[in-house]
């Protein structure tokens, strides 16, 4: 059991990430040696901690907004009275996810100008789609006998939603949230081009000023941020699927990575059921 513990990725990812976020200046000699032409060797526009906090805040707030809108719309689409809207909402989610995230970000600029606001809008809009899609799929996947039994026992519609449908749909909904958040971390980095203060700033600054070391510094931090977040979601997924038979839990052979972001690809391969 303890050997398994040490293979838990969070155990080494978190300290590694913390090191880069807080201790980038410590790597000064390394970057000075590798890229002698770049002065100063470490990106000095803002501390990486500040950049990460802005970035995380932007992703967190927009993800929360996406969550509320996406799950809300998904619930409406699966109620008897909202049933009519389900097909068109699913179509909207599918088509919308065909739009490249960077295009959605670009389109937000004419509407809202520059800065954090268009980035926030683009992140929220784009994040709603996978969450909506997965909420509908998850709620629709609740076995009919379970719902019938719940209704027959005298649970109100609200109780059925809260105690039966949502808990059973939670793993699928969580997968949608995971996709939305991971994509948003990347899109928020690109948001630096429209003036949002994020971890993309050193990358963009480095690309524009031909300072490769800044690009690498920014890239390492944002990449680790994404990987760490994905690992946290995987932990959460495991916890939520405790009640399932071990076959149904799809514990992937060889580790947690397999069922991560690639789950989106897998879901589309097998037609949405994951």
């Amino acid at each position: 059991m303890s050997a398994r513990r040490y293979r838990d990725p969070l155990l080494w990812l978190a300290p590694l990430f913390a090191f880069f976020v807080l201790g980038m200046p410590a790597l000064r000699p390394v970057f000075a040696w590798a890229f002698p032409a770049v002065e100063p060797p470490i990106y000095a526009g803002d501390t990486f901690l500040a950049l990460w906090l802005f970035h995380a805040a932007l992703v967190a707030v927009s993800s929360f907004a996406s969550l509320v809108l996406g799950i809300g719309a998904g619930i409406i689409a699966t109620r008897r009275w909202g049933h009519e809207f389900r097909a068109i909402l699913e179509a909207l989610a599918t088509i919308g996810q065909t739009f490249p995230p960077v295009a959605v970000l670009a389109l937000a600029v004419p509407a809202l100008g520059y800065g954090a606001l268009p980035t926030f809008l683009a992140l929220t809009l784009y994040g709603v789609l996978p969450i909506l899609q997965n909420t509908i799929a998850g709620l629709a996947g609740v076995p009919e006998p379970v719902r019938e039994a719940a209704e027959g026992m005298g649970l109100t519609q609200a109780e059925i939603l809260a105690k039966v449908e949502l808990p059973l749909a939670a793993p699928v909904i969580l997968a949608g949230i995971r996709i939305a958040v991971i994509i948003n971390i990347g899109t928020a980095a690109i948001g630096s081009t429209v003036g949002a203060v994020t971890l993309g700033a050193p990358i963009i600054g480095g690309l524009v000023g031909d300072k490769t070391s800044y690009v690498i510094q920014g890239a390492i931090v944002v990449a680790l941020f994404a990987i760490l977040t994905d690992a946290c979601f995987e932990r959460l997924r495991r916890r939520l699927e405790r009640y399932k038979a071990s076959g149904a839990r799809r514990d992937p052979p060889g580790g947690w990575q397999v069922a991560g972001f690639g789950a989106r690809v897998r879901a589309k391969v097998s037609g949405g059921s994951g």
Partner: protein, 306 residues
Amino acid sequence: MIELEGVSRSYGDRRVVEDLSFTVEDGAFCAIVGPSGSGKSTSLRMINRLIEPSAGTIRIAGEDIATLGLTRLRRRIGYVIQSGGLFPHWTVEDNIATVPRLLRWDEARVAERVRALLELVRLGHETRRKYPHELSGGQQQRVGVARALAADPEILLMDEPFGALDPLTRQALRAELARIQEATRKTILFVTHDIDEALLLADRIAILRDGRLLQYATPQEILTRPASAFVREFVGGAALGLKLLAQRRVRDHLHPGAAPAGEPVAQDAPMSEALSEMVLRGAEFLPVRDAGGRIAGSVALADMLR
């Protein structure tokens, strides 16, 4: 007491249930039987208003259920379905405790009730921490029954509860249900397409066909005086006589005193079992043993014809 009066249900032009009227006494076991598509499940689900009748009235204890609050009505009625419908994300304990917790019983009372019910359905106490997927089909249905009985409802509705199980488990659960009914004296409405199951368990049987009630009577009466040729065929046709025999117990035809030698037959066994033994042994008389295992007397082939 459950009273159905002129109950009908249509979907557009399609009449699924038509003019259904009968009464189920308190503590009675009423089986609703019929071929597929006869409206059995629909009738059952009109009683807890999962489906609303298009016409007619249903009364429980004199009250028109249409006037009662939906959730309050359903919390007074236990409901068991064929696939169990156990909540997969809750333990057995949480499943059984569903309605009591909805009714805000305190936890101590809930725990005690769960313990008592697990004992009633003959499941070990350690089952309470398991998840439904860890149980066999038969065990899941036992939990389903326990869950339905949790809040001590007056009425139990069962929609082909043993349909998805293998014959051996079905047999065992039937016996359990009979025992539970004996112990708790609930009013049970039991839908099945298996007439033998109905003949075995029910005090009264309602035979439906194409949404209409063909006959509502005791098993004895249905076997001896079927209301139509269809009922006769449905209930056993050529095997009617044997089924009638199955309704009688050996103890009702016991001749106390001396008995022939050989393996005795239990006095609680149906007469059809005694007949089967007689055929196998080629004997006209069989010894009978009582519940304690002592020889109580004998039973004769001639008794079969009385």
